[in-house]
C-alpha cells in the first residue's frame, strides 16, 4: 500500500509508455527471495524495480544496483520465513546456471514506510517514479 507499491506503479507506467514488443514482458509481483528468482529464470536481461528503506534514507532517491552489490548478505543467517534474494540467486547459480539472466539490474527508490494506506504514491515518490520511468525507458530502447 502507498509507496510500498512503487514497483507495481512504475511497471504500470512503463506498460502505458512503451509500445508492446515480443521481446519484452512486464510482471507485477508481490514476492521475494526464491519465488522472485524463479520468476526471472530463462530471461536474458531483467530489470527489478522496488522501494527500499535504509538507514540513510533519502525519500525519492533513485539508485541502481547489481546483484553483486548484495553479495555480503548472501551467507547471512536465514530469515525465519523467506530466503533472501542474494542467497536464492546464488543457489540457482549453482543449480541452474544456464537459466540465470545475463544481466540483472535493480532499480530502487527510497521511501518512508509509514502506516498511511493509500492506493497512490506520495507526491515526492510519484515524481521520482516518473523520473525512473524515463531512465528505464531509455535502457529498454537501447536493448
Amino acid at each position: 500500500m502507498g509507496d510500498d507499491g512503487l514497483g507495481i506503479h512504475v511497471v504500470r507506467m512503463l506498460k502505458k509508455k512503451i509500445p508492446a514488443r515480443e521481446d519484452l514482458e512486464f510482471k507485477e509481483l508481490s514476492v521475494g527471495g526464491l519465488k522472485l528468482v524463479e520468476e526471472i529464470l530463462g530471461y536474458e536481461k531483467v530489470f527489478i524495480i522496488d522501494s527500499v528503506d535504509t538507514e540513510d534514507r533519502q525519500i525519492g532517491r533513485i539508485r541502481e544496483f547489481s546483484p553483486e552489490q548484495f553479495k555480503a548478505t548472501e551467507q547471512s543467517s536465514p530469515s525465519p520465513h523467506v530466503l533472501n534474494f542474494a542467497t536464492a540467486l546464488e543457489l540457482y547459480k549453482k543449480l541452474k546456471p544456464s537459466e540465470i539472466p545475463g544481466t540483472i539490474r535493480i532499480f530502487t527508490i527510497d521511501i518512508d514506510p509509514d502506516f498511511t494506506f493509500r492506493e497512490k504514491l506520495s507526491p515526492t515518490v510519484q515524481e521520482a517514479a516518473a523520473n525512473l520511468v524515463e531512465i528505464i525507458t531509455q535502457h529498454i530502447e537501447q536493448l
Partner: protein
Amino acid sequence: MKTVTINPVTRLEGHGKITIFLNDEGNVENAYFQVPELRGFEKFCEGRRVEEMPDITSRICGVCPEAHHLASTKALDAVFHVDPPPTAKKLRELLYSAFYVADHTTHFYILAGPDFVMGPSAPKAERNILGVMSKVGLNVGASVIKHRSDALDVVGIIGGKRIHPACGVPGGVTKAITEEERTRIEKIAESEVEFAKFTLKLFDEVVLQNKEYVSLILGETYASKTYYMGTVDEENQVNFYDGKIRVVDPEGKEFAKYHPKDYQQYIAEHVEPWTYLKYPYLKSVGWKGLVGGKDSGVYKATPLSRLNAADGMATPLAQEEYKKMYETLGGKPVHATLATHWARLVELLYAAERMLELSGDKEITNPNVRTLPTATPDEGVGCVEAPRGTLTHDYKTDEKGLVRNVNLIVGTTNNHAAISMSIKQAANGLIKNGDVSDGILNMVEMAFRAYDPCYGCATHTLPGQMPLDIKIYRQRIVTHHLRRP
C-alpha cells in the same frame, strides 16, 4: 532491572523486536516479543466488493498466498450461502496439498533445516541452504528445487498462476482440469511422495541419529506445555483444507471441537498496548498472561499442534510416520517446540499422499466446478490450516456484498503468546549471571524459527532478512552488543 533488546532496524521481513529483561543477578526475568508492524488489511478492505477478498488477501503474504486465497474463498461460500460441487472442493484441496508440499519443503531445507544439518553452532556463513548442499551434495539441492517447483506447477495448473493463484470464487473454482493436466499432476504427486519419504529418511539420519540434536529437541530450553489446536476430519485425522477445529489440553485430552463459524465462542483476543499483534486465547480458560499450563488460555497452532490435536493421519505412509514420531518422543502430546520440524515432515508426506489420492480421483476432471450463488450475501467464516497455524477469515457484508467488517486470525497470530514464551525460555537457558554466549542470536532464533512465523511478510528482499540487534545492559552500561545486519 536490566534490559536486553533485540531490535530490527528495517522493516524488510516484517517487524519484530525482542526485549529481554535481566534481574540484578544477570539472569532472565522476562522476555517479550513485540510486533510494531501494522498491515491494516482488516480496515482497508471495508467498503470493497467481497468477491475481491480472495485476491486482495492473498497479498497479505508473498510466501503463503494460497492459504489466504482459500480461507477467503471458503468465507465467500459462507457469505453467499452456497455449497461448491464435490469436484470444486477436491480441486481446491489438491491445489492446497501441492502448496503444502512446496511450503514445507522450503521451510525444512532452506529455512530451518540448516540448523540441524549444519548444526546450531556452525558458522553463520555455513548455516544456510548453500551450506546444506555442500554437506549433502548438489544433487539433493537440485531435487529440493525441482520438487518445490513441480508442486508450484500444480498450483499454477489449477489456480491459473504459480504465484497468487486466482481460482477461488464463491461456490467453486474458475475452471476444471483436463485429463492431460490430471495425468501430469498425478506423475508429479508420485515423485513428491518419494521425495517426502527421502526427506524423512534424511531427517532420521542427520537429526534423530545425532544424540546432541535429540537432546536439544527434548531439552527444557525448548519445551512448553500449552493447549494445542488443529483442524480434523470426521475421524479426527489431520485435514488442511476442511473440518472442525479441535483443541486438546496440555495432557492431550479433547478440550473443544467446533465448527469454524463458531470460533468466537471459543477464542478471544487479548490486546497489549505495546504490540500491534493481538494474543488469541481460549475464552473459557481465560487470559492469565504469557504462561503455559492447563490454567492458562494460551494455545499453539503449529504442525506439531495439529498432530497433537488429532488422532492420526488420513494417509497410510504419513500415519506410519506419525506413530513412529510419538513412539520415539514418549507419547502424546509432545511439548518439545523443536519437534515441530519433525511434525512438519510428517505433514509433508501426508500432503504428497493426498496429492496422489486426489489426482487419481475419477471425479477430479468433472467439468462441474461451480454452483452459482443466488442468496443475498451477509456474513461468513472460512477456515483452513495454514502451514504455520489455523487461519480464519470472517467477513460481514451489506446486502450488496460490500464489506462492512473483516476479522482475520492469521496462523502465526495464534502462536504469538507461545512464541514469546519460547523466546523467554531460550533466553533463560542462555543468559546466566550476566554472561551472554555468542550463540544467543541463533539459539533464540531457533525457538522462534520452529514456528515458521510470518509477521505480514514484506515483499522486499534487498537484502531481505530480519536484522537483529541485541544490547546487553548492566547498571546502565552496554556490556555486550550483538548485531546481525
